[in-house]
């Protein structure tokens, strides 16, 4: 008998034994074994599909600073505090969610040979349940390559058009129709940056002189640009890039390095500043409290509460992680709670439901999940990627 035949014979015997083992166990009736010890004989290998998006899901965007071409978006369930899935995304991506989370829009950049070759900038459409890419629209003018900032990409208030800010270094806004998966145009708005939606076909941007500029466009791409007067001092006390605009109740808040709050109303295609107040009292200033971090504001529209990351520090500490979250009644313009953070945070999100969760993302890739009604910590999810920076919830 040749060696080969012998090997085959042994292999066949092993196979018979493998097949026979579980069968014998089943035939023996597996009496006395606990139910969980009994394995299915033939387990089907499946791929998970997510259900309808929950308001308590958090979408965590990780640019992966040490490996910028390997960015990701994680979907995390705030109730179970488990990761539900992940997307691979392109270079320094930005994302936006449809109102129900059924679609995830990612603005991303790729090179044909990884870090070299032909560059392509695209809006990629991901299915919110399978987390698979289902289509894309090329951005012919490109997009802004920068550490991801939420206001680089926004949906218009009705969710029809996606607005992607571009600086090359001339500044434009690319408009994409997400219903028809069609690039519409690039609108030139020289000198001004970021996009804050103000209507179904309008948005505002922040300009270097401390003003908003209001932009409206037609479905054929024609646009009108209307200047406003400055409302803040961009030399002495600039507003943070991460303002919050609530489509749900038509309110917007912008906070300055020194803790001033400007409330604005996005209405009739304009961002109209309607009020000014301060996060900080005299005692707070004496203790050197100031706002800071990255995505440092979150707003809960159903209860008109503004959540702000704050830390103690001097001027030019505006990116320092927050030691506490301060909660403000945006109507009374006063602080109603302070939440100390064991894991200092750079980014905040709050779910928009009636039993809201507050999510505080740290620079150590952890998310602290906080009951946004009682302010009790529900738990901490650790190890979400490498260097996550932005978080999103549905219905923001």
């Amino acid at each position: 008998m040749s060696v080969r035949i012998a090997a085959e014979a042994v292999g066949a015997a092993v196979l018979v034994a493998l097949l026979a083992g579980p069968l014998e166990a089943q035939e023996r009736g597996i009496e006395g074994l606990p139910g969980e010890a009994v394995l299915e004989v033939e387990e089907e290998h499946t791929t998970a599909v997510l259900g309808e998006a929950s308001p308590h899901w958090l979408y965590v965007l990780d640019p992966v600073f040490p490996h910028l071409i390997a960015s990701k978006v994680y979907v995390v369930d705030g109730d179970s505090r488990r990761i539900l899935g992940m997307l691979n995304t392109g270079y320094v991506p930005n994302m936006a969610l449809s109102a129900d989370g059924g679609a995830i829009y990612v603005a991303e950049t790729y090179w044909s040979r990884g870090t070299r070759g032909e560059r392509v900038d695209v809006i990629t459409y991901y299915d919110g349940r399978t987390l698979e890419p289902v289509g894309e629209t090329v951005l012919p003018r490109g997009r802004f390559l920068v550490v991801p900032k939420k206001p680089n990409l926004a949906l218009t208030t009705d969710g029809r058009y996606l607005l992607s800010f571009n600086m090359d270094p001339a500044t434009t806004v690319s408009v994409v129709d997400v219903r028809e998966l069609r690039y519409v145009t690039d609108i030139e708005v020289p000198g001004c940056s970021l996009v804050f939606p103000t209507g179904p076909r309008s948005f505002s941007m922040l300009c270097p002189d401390g003003s908003f500029v209001d932009v409206a466009f037609e479905p054929d791409g024609r646009a009108t640009v209307r200047d406003q007067e400055p409302f803040f001092d961009s030399e002495a006390d600039p507003v943070f890039e991460h303002g919050v605009v609530s489509t749900a109740d038509g309110r917007a808040f912008f906070v300055t390095y020194e803790g001033k709050v400007y409330e604005a109303r996005p209405e009739d295609g304009r961002m109209r500043v309607v009020g000014e107040w301060s996060l900080l009292g005299r005692a707070d200033r004496a203790e050197s409290w100031r706002p800071g971090g990255w995505q440092l504001l979150a707003y809960h529209a159903p209860t008109d509460r503004l959540f702000v990351l704050v830390h103690r520090g001097g001027r030019w500490t505006h990116k320092q992680a927050g030691e506490e979250v301060w909660v403000f009644d945006a109507n009374a313009r006063r602080r109603i709670a302070r939440i100390p953070l064991e894991h200092h945070a750079i980014t905040l999100s709050v779910s928009q439901d009636e039993a809201p969760l507050l999510f505080a993302l740290s620079e150590e890739a952890s998310v602290t999940v906080i009951d946004a009604t009682t302010y009790e910590v529900r738990g901490v999810v650790e190890g979400i990627g490498d260097s996550p920076f932005l978080t999103y919830v549905i219905g923001e």
């Binding site: 020289p190 200047d227 961009s234 990116k319």
Partner: protein, 176 residues
């Protein structure tokens, strides 16, 4: 002081951007032309902005002149990113196979050995993925991205053959 004049130029450029009406469209066209012709370096770009002598002195107090792999190396008073000195390059050398960006932002740093202030061009080296070594960040004078010449988050590889950020260098370009 030359640094003041440079900072003035930066600020004037910012104000020009800030001015509205027809100048805005002019700037858009200008920006497009500059990007297309890789003439970006003439745009005054300063990630840190109007760095005052006082702030530069504050950095210089704890700065050293011997080890460019440390964040307190004297030329890094306004730097942001991964230090090229830790990636196979040096303060004025890009690591092998990467390209110095023709655009840069500028800071004024004091050499603690001679007490002189020098103009430093912070050029990104571009064309490979992040070096990932020796991350340093300075925030003094750092402004939001709607004042781009003062913002340190932007991938300043405009005009380089490829827009992939690798590391940050710090070349001396003049004495103040």
């Amino acid at each position: 002081m030359a640094s003041v004049r440079l900072d003035d130029l930066v600020e004037k450029a910012a104000r020009r951007i800030a001015q509205k009406t027809s100048r805005r469209s002019l700037l858009a066209r200008l920006g497009t032309v500059l990007a297309g012709a890789a003439l970006v370096p003439i745009l005054p770009v300063d990630r840190r902005g109007a760095v005052s002598r006082a702030r530069a002195e504050a950095f210089a107090k704890t700065a050293q002149t011997t080890d460019p792999t440390q964040c307190n190396y004297w030329r890094y008073c306004a730097i942001d990113g991964y230090m090229c000195s830790c990636c196979g390059g040096g303060p004025a050398t890009c690591p092998p196979g990467t390209y110095p960006s023709p655009s840069s932002w500028v800071g004024t740093c004091i050499n603690p050995d001679d007490g002189q202030a020098y103009l430093i061009a912070y050029r990104d080296c571009c064309g490979k993925d992040s070096c990932g070594q020796c991350a340093c960040l300075a925030l003094e004078g750092e402004m939001p991205v709607y004042r781009p010449q003062l913002n340190n988050d932007i991938v300043w590889c405009f005009g380089a053959p490829n827009m992939v950020y690798h590391c940050s260098s710090a070349a001396i370009v003049g004495r103040v």
